[in-house]
């Protein structure tokens, strides 16, 4: 869906490629006209863009007017963007990455495999569900977004992420305390400065330099003074 992304038409090129099978399925008489209609700006989180694909497929099957199909497509941009980004980028991805990182400390390379398998199992389920629900509901697809599924799934991954974060924090803190107090102090300083950086919306690069810089300063002070 993201292929050929540009700031003028957004995902339009990818969208056209994704819905290309509809030309054959619904025996659309003029494919060039069909693609031209669908080359309008469209944007959605790629993992849940299939909701729009399913809904449009249903509307094409019902031979709805092109203006109505375009209206539904445009109306889907907001929910599919915000829901998807909130779910995938802010909850699923970081939670499963932390799971993979923690697991790698115990089960070596199976940790990254765990992350890869769990993420892709979920994202494929989401895409399949989107296609199914989109086709089932058609222009009523908006009902789906006020359902409890999104709330529950986001809550689940948020809770998982928080649980793993708390666990990892103590694990790492205890590890560094067992090394020596200097290393533990550096870890604490980096953590606090990192928190300040992220909450003050300082760029990630600058925050990283801040954390490293604090390590250099503490090391210097403790070594030479």
């Amino acid at each position: 869906m993201q292929t050929g992304f540009c700031y003028e038409r957004l995902q339009a090129l990818g969208w056209c490629w994704v819905i290309a099978p509809l030309v054959k399925r619904f025996q659309i008489p003029n494919p060039a006209e069909f693609y031209q209609k669908n080359l309008q700006p469209f944007n959605a989180n790629p993992y849940i863009s299939t909701y729009a694909v399913g809904a449009v497929a249903r509307l094409e099957e019902e031979k709805k007017e092109p203006e109505e199909i375009q209206r539904v497509k445009n109306s889907l941009r907001g929910p599919l963007g915000s829901l998807g980004d909130n779910l995938i980028w802010k909850n699923v991805r970081p939670a499963l990455l932390v799971l993979g990182i923690i697991a790698s400390g115990w089960i070596s390379f199976w940790g990254p495999i765990l992350f890869l398998v769990s993420f892709n199992a979920f994202q494929l389920y989401l895409r399949g569900r989107g296609l199914r629900k989109g086709f089932q509901l058609g222009e009523q697809i908006f009902v789906e977004f006020s359902g409890s599924f999104w709330r529950k799934v986001t809550y689940f991954f948020g809770a998982l992420g928080a649980l793993l974060l708390g666990f990892w924090l103590i694990q790492k803190g205890a590890e560094y305390v067992s090394w020596n107090s200097e290393i533990a102090f550096i870890f604490l300083a980096a953590l606090i400065l990192g928190l300040v950086g992220f909450y003050k919306r300082i760029s990630a690069f600058d925050t990283f330099l801040l954390c490293l810089g604090s390590g250099v300063v503490i090391k210097f002070l403790l070594t030479f003074i």
Binding site: G4, G14, Y35, Q123, L169, F198, L212, S214, G215
Partner: protein, 230 residues
């Protein structure tokens, strides 16, 4: 890995594929350093080292959100560059772990921002592709597959070349600076791991440090404490 040629081919191919996975196609997350690091390590014959550098690189990009028009770091290409550079330099006779890893992390991060900037430029260039498709459609022809594949090829090439140039640059600069820093003992740089982990953990609070998550955060901390004490 025995020869530089094989390393360069590896970087080219994986850099291109990682670029596709990050943005244009698949989005299966194999390009995340947590996965690509061990993958490169396995191909290199040192899975453990690949996993180590993969985890460290992943900590740099745990908190990024690829939204909007802002330049976001390209973790895919940055991870490939960092992991390969680390494994290459690890084979050197004298390998100061902390010093070299610090330099690799820093410069891989810079390469990732550069790659992210190129992604934005690529997106501006893609407008031409869409206009060409539109022009053909107006003439009653559609060359959708051709331009779609062209967009994929451009993205692959962008990632491959960025990874290759980034890899060579990171190797050159790291070797140069590591030599300059030879007077400072490697043990001075042992602040690296706690600093990187502190940064990575702090970035996660951005997502999970909300009030509604606090019971789970505390629960996880208690669980961690139990595991540590037991």
């Amino acid at each position: 890995m025995e020869s530089m040629e094989k390393e360069l081919i590896l970087v080219l191919i994986l850099g291109g594929l990682a670029s596709l996975d990050s943005t244009e196609a698949f989005q299966s997350m194999w390009s995340q350093p947590l996965v690509s690091g061990p993958l490169i390590g396995w191909l290199w014959g040192d899975l453990k080292a690949g996993l180590l550098i993969g985890v460290l690189l992943q900590l740099l990009w745990l908190g990024y959100l690829p939204l909007g028009v802002a330049v976001f770091p390209d973790a895919g290409v940055g991870g490939i560059v960092g992991a390969t550079a680390f494994l290459h330099l690890q084979d050197q006779v004298i390998f100061d772990f902390y010093k070299v890893t610090l330099l690799i992390l820093l410069f891989s991060l810079i390469v990732s921002y550069f790659s992210g900037w190129l992604i934005l430029k690529n997106r501006f260039w893609n407008v031409k592709l869409v206009h060409k498709v539109e022009k053909h459609l107006a003439q009653g022809r559609h060359k959708l597959n051709y331009y779609f594949c062209l967009a994929l090829l451009v993205s692959f090439s962008r990632g491959a070349l960025t990874a290759l140039l980034g890899y060579l640059a990171v190797l050159f600069i790291t070797e140069l600076l590591a030599a300059r820093l030879a007077v400072i003992p490697d043990s001075f740089f042992d602040f690296l791991l706690p600093s990187v982990y502190g940064f990575g953990l702090a970035s996660l609070f951005f997502f999970f440090g909300k009030l509604k998550n606090s019971p789970f955060l505390l629960g996880g901390a208690v669980l961690g404490l139990v595991v540590v004490l037991v």
